[in-house]
């Protein structure tokens, strides 16, 4: 009788151990999450939710400020000027600018020109205009932008003991081309604190 109980106990323990060890060997699991949601992996860098939040805050400020209310036409022509990345991160600034472009285009208050500015799009657009001129023999009419958008990303890193804080500043300015005046400016910051390994508690 005693032997039976012992063998049952051993069996249960063996089963438990088997389940425990098999639990450690789980296969790689991937799940789809909302890229703009709190389930996005949070790191010391700028994650997908941070890009979305920064873009949203900048758009809110631009639209609430009423800078586009005095535009000479609707939609106003906007050229995206250079975006300076002064962070230590190798990031594509289109992660911010594209969101701004999409939102502004959706408002119907702005049309973004690709005939001016930097990058591939500007080259393609200017070559297309030249081609049209050659084929039609007429001077292609290019719309001069009413505004240019300029942006800069800055990173400041502060350290106190095992805590590191990365503050990312997203600066943006809207310049009226005709006057050269800045008609809207904004700076939004996202600060992220990371505690190094070995610390107890937060």
């Amino acid at each position: 009788m005693k032997q039976t109980v012992s063998s049952k106990l051993l069996g249960v323990l063996a089963l438990g151990a088997m389940l425990t060890f098999s639990g450690c060997e789980t296969a790689t699991e991937t799940r789809t999450v909302d890229a703009k949601g709190p389930q996005a992996i949070n790191t010391a860098a700028i994650n997908s939710q941070d890009w979305a939040n920064a873009a949203d805050q900048l758009i809110n400020s631009l639209l609430s400020g009423g800078a586009l209310n005095n535009a000479p036409r609707t939609p106003a022509i906007l050229a995206v000027d250079r975006v300076i990345n002064n962070t230590q991160l190798m990031v594509d600034t289109d992660l911010l600018i594209k969101k701004i472009r999409v939102a502004l285009t959706n408002t119907g208050k702005v049309a973004i020109t690709n005939t001016l500015g930097l990058g591939e799009r500007a080259v393609v657009a200017s070559e297309a205009a030249e081609l049209e001129e050659m084929q039609s023999g007429k001077k292609a009419k290019t719309l001069v932008p009413d505004y240019t958008l300029y942006a800069k990303l800055i990173q400041q890193t502060d350290k106190n003991g095992k805590v590191t804080q990365n503050t990312y500043a997203f600066q943006m300015s809207l310049v009226q081309v005709k006057t050269g005046l800045t008609v809207w400016e904004e700076e939004k910051q996202i600060a992220k604190q990371t505690r190094g390994p070995g610390a107890i508690g937060w």
């Binding site: 709190p38 758009i59 809110n60 009423g66 999409v102 939102a103 959706n106 408002t107």
Partner: protein, 143 residues
């Protein structure tokens, strides 16, 4: 018996001291001051609330919602939110936009944002619809 009573007193004192220290250490409440008679005339709207997380509703409360129009025809919504607890709390919120036909607009700015509320703090969250077609909104909260 005397020793036992003395021990109870010591333990009680330690508990009281510990509790006082704990409460003092956690205090991060916000005191705020404002004009006694507000000069602003907000356009408050009547809201409908669907609560599926009672715990969250007991932590953070939407005090009021008001709206305005910016840049000519874009709807702006502002909600006043209150932390009902004494501790700092993070909550996530999102605004969604709906057009005249009741269709969700799935706008570019419909993102979950994290709001950090200090103890008993009341603050505002706001957003602007990037589409002039937006006539209604939905504000969502989650922990």
């Amino acid at each position: 018996m005397k020793i036992k009573l003395h021990s109870v007193r010591v333990v009680a004192s330690l508990w009281a001291g510990g509790a006082a220290l704990l409460l003092a250490g956690c205090a991060s409440n916000v005191n705020s001051y404002e004009r006694a008679e507000s000069q602003a005339t907000p356009n408050y709207i009547a809201d409908k609330r669907v609560i599926t997380d009672n715990t969250l509703a007991g932590l953070v409360r939407v005090v009021s919602i008001n709206q305005s129009t910016v840049s000519g025809n874009l709807l702006k919504i502002q909600a006043t939110v209150e932390n009902l607890r004494n501790s700092t709390r993070n909550v996530n919120y999102k605004f969604e936009w709906i057009d005249q036909d009741g269709m969700a607009l799935d706008s570019a700015n419909e993102t979950w944002k994290t709001l950090v509320l200090q103890g008993r703090e009341t603050t505002t969250i706001s957003t602007v619809s990037v589409s002039p077609r937006a006539v209604d909104f939905k504000l969502k909260f989650r922990e």
